[in-house]
């Protein structure tokens, strides 16, 4: 059985311009201990997917228009707020992009770590402190016992993100969702944080969803990948297959348009055009206006995400097995 099953999930937002669907018909499963990468650009719906799973979107303006999220056999999308609160932290935890704004500036990091522990487990104050020190040490904060009394502003960006990871993992969740966890960090620190996440997966045996716009971060971490574009999954594959045989023209474009250290290109293969405005998305395939392989049929209907080769699926009528 899968740890997480997302089926036909559609999340809509009320706006002044009417209701807009941020994600549409998103379906995927995630096995225990697996790392799933979700890659996409702005407006792709990758963060809304995560926030819907976590039940963190306020209603209104957001509402789940259809579909469900099943975690470890429980349908989360029908849970009361109180029961969902119990799952957040001990079942599923989340790390956000901006560690400065995710930490409370007026509490020490020790207080924030122990607050999370208290919310989910009965521990003596001494045991809380010990567990907090243990977690900070594990995520690579030197002399953790001394740092418990530090406020967030006293830490560097990389250390703050380590603290966020320690808080997220304090109650040993079975799934960690990391939304652009390294985007705000410097390159050398980004590499350290990604390595840390991989080590923690091995040690705690949790599953991870890593959300990013960076194909390099995906290449570095994921076992499986979902590629999202304008609110829909356009390709799903195991990591090797995605990089070796990308099926969707958008995925191919994403892989080709970035320069690489390993290979010199005289000119980058740019994807023409811009990302569609969520309020006025094109008819049919949403990538069609930018796609070099576009034919008339592409604009007639939204292509379904279909298995092309085994587990490798693409939402493209031009995609064929290689």
């Amino acid at each position: 059985m899968s740890l997480l099953e997302v089926a036909g999930l559609t999340t809509a937002f009320k706006t002044r311009r009417g209701e807009i669907t941020a994600i549409e018909d998103v379906s995927f499963t995630l096995a225990e201990r697996q790392i799933l990468g979700i890659v996409g650009e702005s407006g792709s719906g990758k963060s809304v997917t995560a926030l819907t799973i976590m039940g963190l979107l306020p209603n209104p303006p957001a509402r789940i228009a259809s579909g469900e999220v099943r975690f470890d056999g429980t349908v989360l999308t029908r849970l009361s707020d109180a029961r969902m609160q119990k799952i957040r932290g001990s079942g599923i935890a989340m790390v956000f992009q901006e560690p400065m704004t995710s930490l409370n500036p007026v509490f020490t990091i020790g207080e924030q770590l122990m607050e999370t522990l208290r919310a989910h487990e009965r521990l003596s104050p001494k045991a809380q402190r010990e567990r907090a020190i243990e977690m900070l040490t594990r995520v690579g904060i030197p002399s953790a016992a001394l740092r418990l009394g530090d406020y967030p502003h006293q830490l560097s960006g990389g250390q703050r993100q380590r603290v966020m990871i320690a808080i997220a993992l304090a109650c040993r969740p079975r799934l960690l969702i990391a939304d652009e966890p390294t985007t705000a960090l410097d390159v050398t620190v980004q590499a350290q944080i990604l390595d840390l996440l991989l080590d923690l997966r091995d040690e705690f045996g949790m599953a991870i969803i890593i959300i990013t716009h960076n194909m390099g971060v995906i290449a570095q971490t994921a076992d499986r990948v979902l590629v999202m574009y304008a609110g829909r999954i356009v390709e799903e594959a195991r990591i090797g297959a995605l990089f070796d045989r990308p099926l969707h023209p958008y995925t191919r474009g994403l892989l080709e348009c970035v320069p690489s250290l390993e290979q010199d290109k005289a000119r980058l293969a740019a994807i023409p055009g811009t990302l569609p405005d969520p309020a006025s998305r094109p008819r049919g395939c949403r990538y069609a206006p930018r796609c070099a392989l576009r034919i008339e049929a592409c604009t007639a209907a939204i292509p379904a995400l279909l298995g092309i080769q085994g587990e490798h699926a693409a939402a493209c009528i031009r995609a064929t097995p290689s």
Binding site: A191, A219, G240, C257, P259, S260
Partner: protein, 328 residues
């Protein structure tokens, strides 16, 4: 090749106060601390480094958007360091900048035509037919439709706004353009369009670029030579293939090793290569003594903690400031 712009021993200090109200101390942040560099006509010099290393400050110093604390700047052989603003005007036409954030860099209440025309008016043009014609030519050159003239910045996507910023910088036909993280705020699929545009414009208008970025792959793609900055100092400069294939400074090696792999097959080897550099960049307010990288360097020696390494040139055109290179 002769240098279009050259800087020697350039420094920029900012005064700061820290500590609690009563025990407040003041100090000097040396954002740029003794930097010398030259950029040849038609060349692209890439400038990389992590946040707070002083790369943006250096870019602004070179074109005198901010005043240096010490050092000298020569543009086309003439010293411009302390030239009064009025006398600098002619030179200013020739030195322009493109900013990172295309949302914050454009006045939201001005029409695109006025935004692009403004530099021309400042430099004495009249708002007449020929000037408007220049604006239309610029729009065409950066790939924006004619009707963009009458719109406001918020009506455009990030990539298109960056095209407006580029048009504004180039309308005076500058020689040197400082590109300060010009693509890092853009979506991945749009970045390549802007990189290609900058390369095309360089060929057409014979521009010289200082290309500032934290993304080593983009810098490698667009530059001829690359300079690496760490805590206010340039630690290594070389022709790009040389720098990426044979980096001499341990910090350059760490930066290159930290770039995410392009293919999942290289994961394990990439990780083994970067295992040795740890920790974050130290605060620029209190940089380490000696070599500033010594707190994170896997090869640190006693001399590194005491003495600041001088720039040496172990191979022609390849400069580095590291005690390891001097002693080998």
């Amino acid at each position: 090749m002769s240098a279009l712009i050259e800087a020697t021993a350039l420094e920029k200090h900012f005064a700061f106060g820290e500590g609690r109200l009563l025990s407040r101390r003041s100090g000097r942040l040396r954002a740029v601390d003794g930097v010398s560099l030259r950029i040849a006509h038609g060349e692209t010099l890439g400038l990389v480094g992590e946040s707070g290393c002083g790369k943006s400050t250096l870019g602004r110093l070179l074109i005198r958007l901010i005043e240096p604390t010490a050092g000298a700047i020569f543009f086309e052989g003439e010293e411009i360091t302390r030239r009064p603003t009025k006398a600098l005007r002619e030179k200013r036409r020739a030195m322009q900048i493109i900013f990172q954030d295309p949302y914050g860099a454009l006045n939201p209440r001005m029409r695109v035509e006025d935004i692009i025309m403004e530099p021309l008016l400042i430099h004495g043009a009249k708002s007449d037919g020929p000037t408007r014609q220049k604006v239309s030519e610029m729009l065409n050159l950066v790939g924006l439709p004619r009707h963009a003239r009458d719109r406001f910045p918020h009506e455009f996507s990030g990539g298109q706004r960056q095209r407006i910023g580029i048009a504004r910088a180039l309308v005076l036909r500058p020689k040197l353009v400082v590109c300060d993280e010009p693509v890092s705020a853009l979506d991945v699929s749009v970045q390549a369009q802007i990189v290609n545009l900058l390369q095309d414009l360089q060929g057409e208008l014979r521009l010289t670029y200082l290309f500032i970025a934290h993304d080593l792959s983009v810098v490698k793609h667009i530059s001829n030579r690359v300079a690496v900055m760490y805590l206010g100092k340039i630690v290594e400069v070389a022709e790009k293939r040389e720098l990426y294939a044979k980096p001499l400074h341990p910090y350059t090696q760490a930066l290159i090793a930290a770039v995410p792999v392009a293919h999942p097959g290289n994961r394990a080897s990439a990780r083994a290569a970067r295992a040795r550099v740890s920790g974050d960049v130290p605060s620029a307010l209190h940089p380490p003594a000696g070599c500033r990288f010594h707190t994170r360097c896997p090869y640190v020696m006693t001399i590194c903690r005491a003495e600041e390494p001088k720039i040496t040139e172990p191979r022609a055109g390849h400069e580095v400031a590291c005690h390891l290179v001097g002693s080998s």
